[in-house]
Symmetry: C2
Subunit: 244 residues, 2 copies
DNA sequence: TAGGATACCTACTACTGAGTATGATTGAGG
DNA sequence: CCTCAATCATACTCAGTAGTAGGTATCCTA
């Protein structure tokens, strides 16, 4: 290992002070960040498999074929490792919100787009850390930080719901409870999804969005039937809940 | 403490062999079970507050104002403690299924009743243990046991969904994904609900069921509007999503 | 090629916490 | 009183693991 490309940096002299000597340093810096990322991803995978408390730093190190002090060379503590995994996951969701902000669509459709991104993030390698990082495992400072990030996402969903109710694209409802229901269903994906599944995170999220949007109650014939003898109907949106 | 009612058991003689001497024994037995229950409930509360791994048996013992060996006098291991908490929670859900089985209602309404029970159970003191007990923390045998119980519940929900699609009370959908979405939203309650909340578990569950049944897409006027300039409408089911 | 920074390892420390050995106490029944 | 069983405490053992001390090899710059 240790096959670092030892770029000979042939361009010798530079004019000013901060020029040449920092080239290699920069490369190393990038190298270091790559390795740091690898450490964080390895940690995410192990946390995902065995849980935070059942994963030792020796485990993570072994997975990377290094030793524990090497891991500590890139992160300062196990707690920080969990925190970084969390942030990595949340960042994807925030990107989803940003991407959707400028779309000229009814709020329900923007919400659906956000939720699909959300589901993908939860099904990603960082999903476990994102949704299951317990505040009790983190220092008060990091716990506060996480709560803030989570709250932003929650508020974003509620806002989209309120907008949808206003623009008529969403049935009037309690934004808070509805947001909890939606986010909860998606968060839960992290509990059962494993990457070797046949469905992708995006597919699952899309299926969920379909359920959320349509609801269980049959549509169309309007009359909510209370007797149970009505003939089975196989009409619109046949069980292809997975179609994007 | 130790104010055990020392019932003098005045009824002296009994005819057969196993009669009298076992009276006190019986009382003690009952006493023991009460205490055991108290231990399990105390454990559930602590797990709920601090998580499984952040709760030591000394903590639980201190909460009961006894010492660790006393706790071990009633349970054999920390793992078993978690398992018992889990079973206690799941039992409530199973009762929900049983209660609903003989009802002569469309499947959607039976499902709604089950989900309400489900939500109550998740919001109960055992909710955390029920949904967050990680298989990695348990021995393979107990892990299997838990998986079986969980699977039964999952299959029960799927069955109700299928029945609903057949009797026309539920819009055709993918039972598996729909069940995951519903159960996930309810399970997630355990992550944010604390008993000192203003809403009861039943209220939350009812609100969720309302969301699930109706869906986000507005009903009534049928036409799914794509432009966003339509005037706000405040019609049926006004934001009283909490009404039972 | 020396000197310094980087990257990584071996071998620890220190502590937590699950589970236990052993004995004291208490109350019931004889 | 005496015994026996249930109940509970004191005082341990022991494994696992987060985090560190200090050293070594390698590369970069001068």
């Amino acid at each position: 290992m240790n096959n670092r490309r030892s770029s000979p940096s042939p361009a010798g002299k530079r004019p000013a002070s901060t020029a040449s000597p920092w080239r290699a340093s920069h490369e190393r810096q990038r190298d270091r960040e790559l390795k740091r990322d690898a450490v964080i991803r390895a940690a995410a995978r192990e946390f995902n498999r065995k849980g935070y408390h059942n994963t030792s730093l020796d485990d993570i190190a072994a997975r990377l074929e290094v030793t524990k002090p090497t891991v500590y060379y890139y992160v300062t503590s196990k707690e920080q490792l969990l925190f970084q995994c969390f942030v990595a996951g949340v960042e994807r969701i925030r990107i989803g919100f940003r991407d959707v902000r400028q779309l000229q669509l009814p709020a329900r459709e923007r919400l659906a787009a956000v939720l699909r991104r959300y589901g993908e993030a939860v099904a990603s390698e960082f999903g476990w850390c994102m949704v299951r990082a317990e505040e009790q495992d983190l220092s008060p400072a990091m716990s506060r930080h996480i709560k803030t990030l989570k709250s932003e996402i929650d508020q974003g969903i509620r806002r989209l719901i309120r907008e949808g109710v206003q623009d008529g694209s969403i049935e009037p409802c309690d934004p808070k409870m509805t947001a909890f229901a939606l986010a909860g269903a998606l968060n839960w994906i992290a509990h059962w999804y494993r990457e070797d599944q046949s469905l992708s995170g995006a597919q699952i999220a899309a299926a969920f969005v379909t359920v959320f949007e349509g609801g269980l109650r049959p549509r169309g014939s309007g009359a909510q039937l209370t007797d149970r003898a009505s003939p089975r109907r196989r009409t619109r949106r046949p069980a292809t809940a997975l179609a994007r």
